[in-house]
Point group: D2
């Protein structure tokens, strides 16, 4: 029989804050009531602040992030359209798979799992595309399977350098609201996010931020893919008045209201700094164990999830299973080719340093149980040193501010 | 400032039972945990009991019912496929619209709003289709906009009579789990339901029950529409093991567990009988007011929602607005051509007789405020008489059973 | 099997607002944390606003109102002290019983059940007490068993008229926060309230408002009753810093925070006006039935609870039982000598007009089932007329204010 | 701004399990409803199982444990009665204080803070009391301030040995439901427990288990203290039918129902074993730091709370403050003479090994911040080793059982 906190350190769904859970525990309500827009309209505006956009709009779909991936494609592209993508983890792999199945002509560049979007290869493809056949370039901002963050701004720069008009699609499911993201500044056209990561909500709602350029593309005369559930046009007609073309999950909106309040109360830049601080503690713990991250170089290190390679001869799945069964803790597994090779610690959302210590402390026990020779307590100690410094600094800063 | 219960008598979302609300107020969890299938697998089985099916399977999508409408079409039909549909209310209208936009060749039969699926016209079309060009026949089991229930079994009978192989699609969003529905017996191939009606859950989850015949159609060699989010194949691969192809909204599953328990504890036939009993009280109240239902004859009366025609010169929208603003009560509005002509009382889900009295009592006040000349208390009195008899009978039955 | 809302129209516990329920659903916390006083200290101040007092203080006890009754006595009186009380319902009866068992020398004046505090008789007793032997005069502000409100200010006036120094004790459990109460202006010394009535919280917390004079009495050299759990002195020492002498039920404080916010957002005078408006609708319904209230004259009518006399030959307990078993509704029973003679409708706390219609509509059914000959719908109709007028007036006022 | 779990490792209130929180989030209900006893009566019976008693009864008071302390005394003793007590921590000190203030003639034996009930001194006092003037002997089963568990059975043995008829009072607030306790076997007469410790509920409800002998004492002709709120007689009259003499906090009963289910599902002996296992891990961590417990010898070690002495020159209050402010963690403070000398880790209730690692990991950071020279990670590592062995053993046992 299980007791106590079910420790959750997967890269999503993440721990839902008490405030958000409370806010979502509401009775159902009339989604056509005259005062309903007073709830819904500010959400659209505030979501734009999170995506750092002034132009364009954000859609909210009752769906997983996968649904928003599909929405982005269906509304702006047509079967046979050429797109540039890259594959370096299970989620970028799945996005390529979707694009292919939806009938796009995909140029998919494979990269070793552990690196991110290959700017060089992208540049070559863009440079070669004088005819501007490439309609869209896809960027997985944060590959959840490998703990790798890519350079979205870099993709924008190379498109600009070549005056290439392709749309930029971004998968920001495990980055947006946790890692800096700038829709306008980076010229992103379609950015996908999900409720269950940095937005600190349960799963079931997805967000799609769309630039004016992409909105125009969705409206232009070129035929697009058939669509109704995810169709921008129906959403826009209703959203403009604060309503929805079909019954929306209103309980999520109450939770989102509080989640956005929390993000703004903390300040987005502070949210990103906190994620970096907590992630760095986990990475120091991993280093102290003598283990490697799947991310092959610091430039790729993700501040929301770390994929940790277990030593040769150790089964990462045994680590995960032991953590779950013996120590009441969910760690993330290795997906596809990484199964058994890595376990993942999700360090995003509503999180603090003590929680990271818990994750490291349990991982040490589970690694040892699985036969890894790591020094017990070493990862915890390394993280403690880092978190102590960070807390002392934060404390000093606050004292300074109060003086 | 508002106080007390927000009375909710729209035809969905419906009142979520306390037991279900409690069950859904859970922390997030690992949707890939080894014990997760112990939660998910029985849900699939128990959903089949609600749809009254032994063959085939039920999919659960993170989407509204509209999403499941689309899923049904995308997985079994191809652009250009001929389908037979009928239109007699806003929701059957929207389904036709979706079918057209997804590229189907729709034969849409228009019926006055107030009647239901036209069996005669359907029979003519089927009889004429010797070549079996019609791939699917669509049936809106319960038209939520007009309060009209149609005869699904009748559609099956006429297809059988003509040995026509078309698939039967059913929109059961506002009927299934409230009104009798029999997937197997009626030979339904694709039946759509939503969480926020008879299933007594918040909005955000849809159900699609699929017959073996429809599953075979989704797998056969004929090309189908492009799809990934709603693709059966991906769902099946993961569902068979109790998992999902993308992050599922696990909180809904805990709520669904309890909602299904409640349905089975009461017994499906008793659930249907209760809906009939409560609906009949509302209809008697309407009759006592001297008003008419939008449903033009008793054969069409819906046990989940009544659309009530206001007298000439009265604005139904004023009734609804007054009920909301002055009496803290949400009634359903008239949609499209019925705007201003009807208001609707939803009487489905977690409901009892006293709640129906509340709805009638408020409707009387709001009607009077809007200028309708109805005898105050008359509708309540008529409903009371009916509910008293029903309760006395129920009480006598229970006493008898206890002896 | 039961469905839908459990309609609760007893005079407490009352319906807890959703906002309050959400606020109370918190994890436990450290009641000695440095930031805990930021939660607790404002509660003490805001409670004083509800009691309308600037001097003195309010204690919060983890107890029912009965505990606060005892606290009031133990801290300011000694065994053998003479007190003046009156008895006109089950709760005033029980308070006399407590006073006697705690060893006070009680002069208890019996009044017919249906009237309230007998100012004449009190005046005679006070006038006769030249020696000021009477230490305290007890006033049941609102007798919950009979639906009778008494004149607290009148007691103050007669004490003043006779320059009598007795303390005034008030049982305001079912009045304070629902009916006007003025600790300072009326010179009340010890006023008892409970969480589960006008404060709209669950049962389990009691409030005791204490004047400076009563605080002084608790500290003076006269021996008092032995006490520790309810001792003022221990409470004061800790409360002054925002803490408590024993583990407080912190979840209640979060609920109280929201309940107080709601009272102030509405405005106390508006709260009282709303209670009067809702109560009057219920009384009009009762009059339309041709039934009598237990309160023998309008001056005694309580705005928080109505005790309704059933016709001769009808068993009020059958009414209550039927309402509960057949119609999912809790009405209040007749207590002690009123058992079987009255049923009670609680109309206080988080309530609106539609809820009062529900209570009346169910009462009509249950009365009829119990054999009462009342015109079905008549009470509902009378209340509707009253509530419609009140709502139209409120609506006009708001429109006026907006112009 | 704070994020993530508020880590709570004080010795009460403890972490309320999700199941219990959900169960308590109920609307208010009629505490006089005919089906209410179906909820309440089994609670009384099941509480007796937790206290391990077949005779006597358990009372539930809306109060803190301090209230139940007072209830025990008021109902069975009279002013001037002689009682034997001992003092070795803040809570045993407060109980002596209460007894004195309630007018008992207290023989209070002082023991160094760190040991427990002095059986030798008790025996001398009992042996000397040939006249049986001592009416009651008080035993603080678990002194929460020092982390010391005393030998209740030993007190029973010495009373038996001297054929002394005194009642045995036990303070089991921080032991019962976590550490073995046997009302019948140990001949305990009045045992006090609170909701917010091993019972895993919020604060606000206390339990008092009373033997037949003590019930008889409460009824006999000897005058007792005046009482009404806590009076056994009123409680018994109502409890026998499943009701209460004043409005009970019904939400607690729903939570208690689940808490008791959880205790029995796990099995009381397994609950005790788990507490021992988790406590031992904490103690090994403390030993690895080179620090001492306040409990002066292993015989006194408490399995629910450890009071840890900080090194000379370190301020324990700084440790606690830092843990709270920097690391979002509540540790228990040193009370009275132990202020600044110890901090406490509560390890009781709904707890698992990973949570104990969190507590130790944070304590290490806070100790270091406060200037203690301890090896970072050392306590965590020692606890990990212990928990890994325990988990492996448990895992092996389960596998064995499954074979």
């Amino acid at each position: 029989m299980k007791h106590g906190i079910r420790h959750l350190y997967i890269p999503g769904p993440t721990n839902v804050p008490e405030r958000v859970r409370r806010a979502m525990n509401v009775p159902m309500e009339d989604q056509r009531a005259p005062d309903f827009p007073a709830l819904s309209l500010p959400l659209f505006e505030d979501l734009k602040r999170v995506f750092k956009m002034r132009e364009g709009r954000v859609f909210m779909y009752p769906s997983s992030g996968t649904g928003a991936w599909e929405a982005a494609i269906q509304n702006t592209l047509a079967r046979g359209d050429r797109v540039l993508m890259s594959r370096f983890g299970q989620f970028s792999h799945l996005w390529v798979d979707m694009a292919q199945r939806l009938g796009l002509d995909v140029e998919a560049i494979d990269v070793e799992w552990g690196a991110g979007v290959p700017l060089d290869a992208y540049e070559r493809a863009i440079a070669a595309d004088r005819a501007h056949a490439i309609r869209a370039v896809f960027v997985t901002h944060n590959e959840t399977a490998t703990g790798v963050t890519s350079d979205v701004a870099g993709v924008r720069r190379l498109l600009d350098a070549h005056q290439h008009p392709a749309l930029i699609f971004v998968d920001g499911v495990s980055s947006i609201a946790s890692i800096d993201f700038r829709q306008d500044e980076w010229g992103v056209d379609l950015a996908v996010a999900g409720s269950q990561k940095g937005f600190m909500l349960p799963a079931g709602l997805s967000f799609l931020a769309v630039s004016e350029k992409a909105l125009a593309a969705s409206r232009d005369n070129r035929p697009k893919m058939e669509r109704t559930y995810f169709a921008f046009a129906d959403m826009i007609t209703h959203n403009d008045n604060g309503f929805f073309p079909y019954t929306p999950p209103t309980q999520f909106f109450h939770g989102l209201r509080v989640a956005l309040d929390m993000l703004f109360e903390e300040g987005l830049e502070n949210v990103f700094a906190r994620h970096h601080r907590l992630a760095e503690g986990v990475r120091r713990g991993v280093a102290a164990w003598g283990l490697k991250l799947q991310a092959v170089a610091p430039q790729w290190h993700s501040d929301t999830v770390s994929a940790i390679r277990v030593p040769e001869g150790v089964d990462a799945n045994a680590v995960i299973r032991t953590a779950y069964e013996r120590y009441d803790t969910s760690l993330g597994g290795g997906l596809a080719q990484l199964s058994g090779k890595v376990f993942r610690i999700g360090h995003l959302g509503d999180l603090n340093a003590a929680m990271c210590l818990t994750a490291l402390g349990v991982a040490e026990m589970a690694l040892a149980d699985a036969g890894a020779r790591i020094e017990p307590g070493s990862g915890v100690a390394a993280a403690q040193a880092w978190y102590r410094d960070a807390a002392a600094e934060g404390s000093a800063l606050m004292q300074h501010a109060a003086e």
